[in-house]
Symmetry: D3
Subunit: 241 residues, 6 copies
């Protein structure tokens, strides 16, 4: 099966990192292709960055539909454009926040999330609540570093992540911790080893769920909200619908 | 004060209708400018249409910031791009669904919403729930007509709207009804007169709230989630932040 | 338009302060009349004080209906008697807590409230939850001062308010702060200037919403729960209904 | 022990009926006193009727405190003034809606409520939700009769109650039904016998809980929200507190 | 009336302690029988201990039905097997957590719970939320002692309980505290006296509610979820149903 | 990898059916072992049946831990004993209701569930709500047939399932339907083909998730609520812990 992993931002080095994380966990028969659109923000840190990334991301999905992609993973923890992507795709589309929440609620009763900047905290809180896991999420914590600093300054990033993971366990009562940024996926194993706390990376969670959904023959329902977009023109040239 | 009313779709006749509704209810000193982006879908009927409309809509707001706009109204009932718009604007940004919910919960304890297509029902349900009014909203009903049919086939649209408004009152126990599409705003008065049920149009609701917010000196908080977008490049050319 | 601002307690100096705050923010054409009932508690600090204030407040509304009042503002942060007032009034009735919540959720994603006494904290928490904003309200904080001490001891009051507003921003992650007492309305501007945090006063919020609702032609729905009270006698002398 | 059952409306025949229901279910050692204030509305059908009944009801509690009352039951299904009453009383205060909800959630997983007028439906829905039983309450139904018609027209009342109880069982999936008006308490046994559905009357529920709370030595907490009202003047003559 | 109090674990000394607490608060005419199954875990500290205790506990109820038991109290704060027990019993079945929540929400607006081990915290949080009191429960605290240490090391247990009760009042803003383990019931009076905080023991709460339910003639509804278990075989030998 | 699928009831023919469904969807490298305990009820239709099945099911998991089982699936739609099982197992434990909810919320925004007997409806509603999907689940419907009738009377079962699936789509607005009983898993494909509605069987959903969780290296967190049960005796012979 072919899974297209889309990093919605335009930082190719992060796409490479995400692709590597995805390939490391995939089943042997799974083909992972990791891409990013061009022209989108270099990182996604807020609603505007999300909004500016989605149309180009949807184009990648539209193209994917013509070349046999079985499932899509949106590799940004805000799950930008997830519902729109599901309208366009026939197969399953997985957001890494949604996937991480599904995994962590299967292996723990309470968890915390550690993300990059404080401004993303309410975004993630609302997202987790919309997935029905608000009461299981003890806290969304921030390391107060921009997304690209994870790569630029890995030692500081790791030190702060460890501090927050330990605080999640000791102060929040978290039984597991979710990494709240796709750019942290390469640190997952080491953070778990260093802290002794189960650490969930959304990229891996999403790959494993995507494989299962494709393997199980599941497709996005085309009844109702995720039906294909209605054909229509732009610029006031309305088409028949 | 200057209020920029943005119809995110690209159907100019709908923009004109919305602008007319806005001007009819504005205070004398309020300047209403109604615009739509070009190149966006002709109507917004689902998540993809929303996603494809937002970047161009944000451009209109960015330009608005340079020419003295005091507040913005997003005139699509899905409130697309509302949070992103708030990051960009210094002044208030109002979504017509949010505004309608604020008005209707001030004048009634229970309400229903009537929208266009069934596929919009879950979108609106989730939006209303995110505004905290889920338990006050009896039902989101649909007339099963595309957005552009409101204009193309006004007699059928009106007949179906009356039927659903009466059902909202008689079956749902709604004390007031919200029109779930900006393109219905010209029908508001007549529907209320025909049914005897208080009918709320989000365009008018948003104009009146926008005037109040500007008049009260309220600005979007730039602490936290609605802070201005961080400066950054695209295409992997990361900027300092 | 005429807006009647009712301070439900019987402290005339607080009524004057509230009236002044209301007039300062009103549009030129708006007539503000600020009144308080006589015989009600000197301040409202708990459910009993609320209950003892409401009947006399409703009398003021009943009288207001006979002399052309367009909208009413209940200027106590517990919003006492709000639903009953809506039954009596034809036009809109606004509670200052409800108004402040509507404004703050338009300009910020997370907020805290600072009130007077600790005993009011659960009252306000429940009220905010009933308005659907429970998940957006980080905390209800208290300065641990009685209502009348705001006037009697303004320096201490201001110092404690600043301390709590800063704690709201730094500890709670609040993006804006709501003042949880009508008697704080004169401090709003200074607190915002001193802390750099957007500070919302419910009196101003309510005036601006009331102007908008009247300007928009909105009336309280008389279908269902806010219908006029049924005519009936007292003391067992039942009337026809 | 002495329990004061207060019918907040001023219809003495309803007070007698309620007192009779209370005495029939009380333990031998329990003294039931049923009273109503004078000057309050003849029935409670909406928020205004509630508000107008509470101050006189609180006076009855204040007097009760001086003459050895152990617990109070507020015998109106809207539980008007419940929190205020708890501030005044040292012992427990029980509302009949709260009591009925406690009983029914102990003996059934899903229930419906049948009340008098449609305008009371949202009031009761909100009340039940505030007691945390919103998801267990299938529906609040109405017989569309005023409170006093229960007494005036008992045959019609009973026929409609039976119809609604059966609909609750057959359509709502209710496993038990709560009577949503104190004036229905004399019908409880017969309705249960006629329908085969467990029927809960709030008056009885409240008496049994009140006996248990007094017997268990429980008193209203005077820490926080239910502390005694602060001493204060009226008419602007503020007292030290 | 006869109330069977079942300690689901197999520690006879704890059963004796629970029985003593029950008898101390019962009305004169109430016969309390306190039992425990044999072969169940010595204490209940987690879901497995719960699961292993329930079948034997249900046997005690099945036997109770043949010998005139009027109501059952499950004396473990996790309320294990409560719904199953209600299927088997004709009369009411009370869990001590459910009972304590009912009592505490009648006498206080906000409360905290103090339990034994940290691993029980999420269990109790979920239980309280399922009873609809999640928003009234400020915190579930733990003394970090196993259940049996309450008896083995009473001085340490009491010191830690006092510390947590005071923290509940001072930090959480709790107006009352619930003891989160049946094995703490003998300490209730002393903890309340030592701290000045109303302290609720679930055993006493359950006895008083059970007496009231039996006295009120309430029985478990046999319509729907609490109907008697359907007759059926085991080991694949299906019976007619 | 080895997945142990446990049918908690003791009907071997149902275990065979479930095992067949599991094997049909498993990846080639996955070994499926389907078992049932002996001595448990022939079907699970209510809380008592659940409770009586869990201890023997936990024994199967305890044994599984000694013989290299990687993950467990509990193949009853009530997810009985799920939390207890997670305490005992090192690897992941999946309940078929939880799995089906995870799958369906990935491919649809709204769904309904069709189960066997009406008495299971509130059980499943509460379970789905505890998984955070209450607002996405339109309805839990029942075919009003006992579990074993699915096998005994397949034509009637299929006809009623089709009727309810179509009602879910047409009346509830469901975009997909979940089968609410493990014994329906063999009908999944045919029901989907017959109705055109995406139909989710929990057995398949659970197998695919289990494979993903094992493949991703996920284990049950042993911090907090899912830690191994504490060692302890029974019958009052307390062990050191």
């Amino acid at each position: 099966m072919k899974i297209l992993v889309i990093n919605p931002n335009s930082t190719a080095s992060m796409t490479a990192l995400i692709g590597e994380s995805a390939r490391l966990c995939a089943f042997p028969g799974t083909q992972i292709e990791a891409v990013n659109p061009s022209g989108t923000p270099a990182s996604i840190e807020g609603h505007t960055d999300e909004a500016l990334s989605v149309p180009a991301m949807l184009d990648l999905i539209r193209t994917g539909e013509t070349r046999g992609i079985d499932a899509y993973v949106i590799a940004c923890f805000d799950d930008p454009g997830l519902s729109a992507a599901r309208e366009i795709a026939a197969g399953p589309v997985i957001g890494i926040c949604h996937a991480a929440v599904q995994v962590v609620t299967t292996i723990a009763t309470r968890f915390s999330i550690v993300t990059t900047l404080p401004r993303s905290v309410p975004i993630i809180e609302d997202l987790v609540a919309s997935y029905g896991a608000g009461s299981r999420c003890r806290a969304v914590r921030s390391v107060d570093l921009p997304v690209l600093a994870l790569e630029a300054d890995p030692a500081i990033a790791e030190a702060r992540l460890i501090r927050e993971i330990e605080a999640a366990r000791d102060i929040d009562g978290a039984e597991a911790v979710v990494l709240g940024c796709a750019g942290m996926s390469d640190l997952c194993e080491r953070l778990q080893a260093r802290t002794g706390v189960p650490v969930i990376d959304g990229v891996r969670a999403a790959i494993k769920l995507a494989e299962g959904l494709v393997g199980g023959g599941y497709a996005t329902s085309k009844i109702g909200a995720y039906d294909y977009p209605r054909a229509k023109g732009t610029c006031g040239l309305a088409q028949s619908a």
